[in-house]
């Protein structure tokens, strides 16, 4: 088991290395002189020089990369060219908001998606199953930012029940969480359904039923527990996709998270903050996948002995 965990941890190192390379070249890939591009066309020669020095662009590439790496390891992500604050200071409070939103959406998606998938799998090809399948397909096809706007129009503008946007308390979280969860609910429901259907067709389910085990127990103890691996995998993978979606949802609801910081930095060409935010998003994604793989150890005893 420890060997498995250790190997899995080791395998993330090349990925992290790759991410750092990609982020490093993100800035260098700018057409023309990056310092000039960042400073803008109207900048004076002094300003361009200052940015060049601030970003260390006047040194050889390998020195720049080595410095970049050593800074990242120390969690020094540089200084925002827009606000002159350290990037970490810009990111930290927003990261928390994004994590709150993403976790709320994931919980919501599991609470709705897993039962819906089970109902569909237990009574396949019935009206109930068809409704779940159709709703799941709708959820997957709907652009989240549009759904967000529609929810605002219905619940904030027409019914005046919930705030249009911003942050402050639980009520501010409701609409963004629903918006972000929509496509995840769909994916979770679909995958729960197919995983459960596969498990319910197994011989041990027939055995359990013939032993006279209550149907509720068959479904939960024998069925659901064995469907957990594909469900967890898909939730983990989708968590990453959802992180990408936070950029849009946060923009719709003016939620002060990392996604909104990223987009405002892109529009302001604030490259240190762009680099930092994307790095954090990638780290979160890699970390989630790692955690998902670790949970296998719990749910699948086979992994422990490999």
């Amino acid at each position: 088991m420890f060997q498995y965990i250790f190997r899995r941890l080791l395998s993330t190192i090349p990925v992290l290395f790759g991410i750092s390379l990609m982020l490093f070249f993100l800035l260098r890939a700018l057409p023309g002189d990056p310092a000039q591009v960042i400073a803008g066309e109207l900048a004076t020669q002094d300003e361009v020089e200052r940015i060049r020095q601030q970003l260390g662009l006047d040194e050889p590439v390998y020195v720049q990369y080595a410095k970049f790496l050593s800074r990242i390891v120390r969690f020094d992500l540089g200084t925002s060219t827009r606000t002159q604050y350290p990037v970490t200071q810009e990111i930290a409070p927003r990261l928390l908001n994004t994590v709150i939103l993403a976790v709320a959406a994931t919980i919501l998606a599991c609470l709705l998606g897993v039962p819906a998938g089970i109902v569909a799998a237990v009574k396949p090809y019935t009206t109930m199953d068809m409704v779940v399948t159709a709703l799941a397909l709708f959820g997957m096809s709907m652009p989240a930012f549009w759904l967000g706007l529609m929810l605002i129009i219905i619940f904030s503008v027409k019914l005046k029940l919930l705030p249009v946007g911003g942050s402050g308390g639980f009520v501010y979280l409701i609409l963004p969480a629903i918006t972000l969860a929509a496509s995840l609910v769909a994916v979770v429901a679909r995958n729960t359904r197919s995983a459960m259907m596969e498990v319910l067709a197994q011989d041990y389910i027939t055995t359990a039923r013939s032993k006279g085990v209550q149907e509720k127990m068959v479904i939960i103890r024998h069925g659901l527990k064995n469907s957990f691996i594909p469900i967890i995998t898909v939730v983990g993978l989708q968590f990453g996709t959802m992180l990408g979606g936070t950029v849009l949802t946060e923009t719709v609801f003016a939620w002060p998270g990392l996604g909104r910081l990223l987009i405002s930095s892109i529009l302001a060409r604030d490259y240190p903050v762009i680099q930092g935010s994307i790095l954090i998003f990638a780290l979160l994604f890699v970390l989630t996948n790692l955690v998902v793989d670790m949970t296998y150890v719990y749910f699948d005893p086979k992994v422990r002995y490999e």
Partner: protein, 298 residues
């Protein structure tokens, strides 16, 4: 669609694909009502996009401030936007942009992804290692963020939207192609071809490529929908296709500030995106169910 097991695109990886199911597949596809509905949606989308200039002679970007923000009426079925432009006309012309973006970005992902996947899966060794580590890195970014990161470097506009969305779809295309190649490489007919001294490139293009086409096509169909949502997302954030061009996401973005005064401006472009993406998803699901030999034939 509901009477078949669902599978995520990733389960294609590593499964053996047989060629020659097209005929049985097509009859199976046409019996699937949901898939046919998806096909109809896409047909309408493509036809209206292609023929748009034929039945609407005015410029969809032409402003008419006197009729700004009119709600839907008989004369202007979907109402007008803040500059008095017909939203219906802009949605139909926007379809041309969405069609162009999805075709080009999916094409780009296939053009680069399939050869890399073929080489990676067939030859293995160092090439495989390098290509797989590169895809690992690309896969460690949420796909939409990858597109966004690329746009932040390349800049806004139609061309850069296509490149970014195409590259965001690249790692999955490589993985799926490679996964299929890995299993087909071990088939007897490939071994036979190799035994009689057939050259590698002939084996790759004549024996392997046709047999990995099914999962690639299914995946591409689903990717069409994703490309449209991604491009619309970029447009909505203001870093995609720029106004006044009527891209659906860009239209939604400008309608966002009007949700109090004129909610219809943001509503209709979203419905257009939804219907087209739904069409591609239904079509992709239907194709997968019809062409996946592992599901068997009733």
């Amino acid at each position: 669609m509901s009477n078949h097991q669902e599978k995520t695109a990733s389960t294609w990886e590593g499964n053996s694909q047989e060629f020659g199911h097209w005929k049985t597949g097509s009859s199976k596809f046409f019996r699937n009502k949901a898939a046919c509905f998806g096909g109809v949606l896409i047909f309408i989308f493509v036809i209206s996009s292609v023929l748009a200039p034929a039945f609407y002679s005015k410029d969809p970007n032409a402003q008419d401030i006197r009729h700004a923000l009119e709600p839907p009426s008989l004369k202007r079925p979907l109402g007008t936007d803040e500059l008095g432009r017909s939203i219906l006309a802009r949605i139909i012309f926007g379809g041309r942009i969405s069609l162009a973006i999805s075709v080009s970005s999916v094409g780009l992902a296939l053009l680069i992804g399939v050869p890399f996947g073929l080489v990676s899966g067939y030859f293995g060794g160092k090439a495989d290692f390098i290509i797989q580590r590169l895809t690992d890195v690309m896969l460690s970014f949420p796909p939409f963020l990858l597109a966004l990161a690329l746009v932040s470097v390349l800049g806004v506009g139609l061309k850069n939207t296509i490149i970014s969305v195409g590259i965001a779809g690249l790692p999955h295309t490589i993985r799926i192609t490679r996964g299929c190649v890995l299993s087909i490489r071990e088939q007897v007919y490939v071994e036979a071809a190799r035994a009689v001294g057939t050259q590698d490139h002939v084996i790759l293009f004549r024996h392997i490529l046709p047999n990995v086409m099914v999962p690639i096509i299914v995946n591409a169909t689903l990717f069409f929908g994703m490309a449209i949502i991604f491009a619309a997302g970029l447009g909505f954030l203001g870093v995609g296709v720029q106004p006044p061009d009527p891209e659906w996401g860009t239209m939604l973005g400008s309608g966002r500030s009007l949700i109090f005064a004129a909610p219809h401006v943001a509503t209709f472009p979203g419905i257009a995106i939804f219907l087209v993406v739904l069409g591609f998803n239904l079509l992709g699901d239907g194709l997968r169910d019809a062409l996946d030999p592992r599901l068997g034939y009733e």
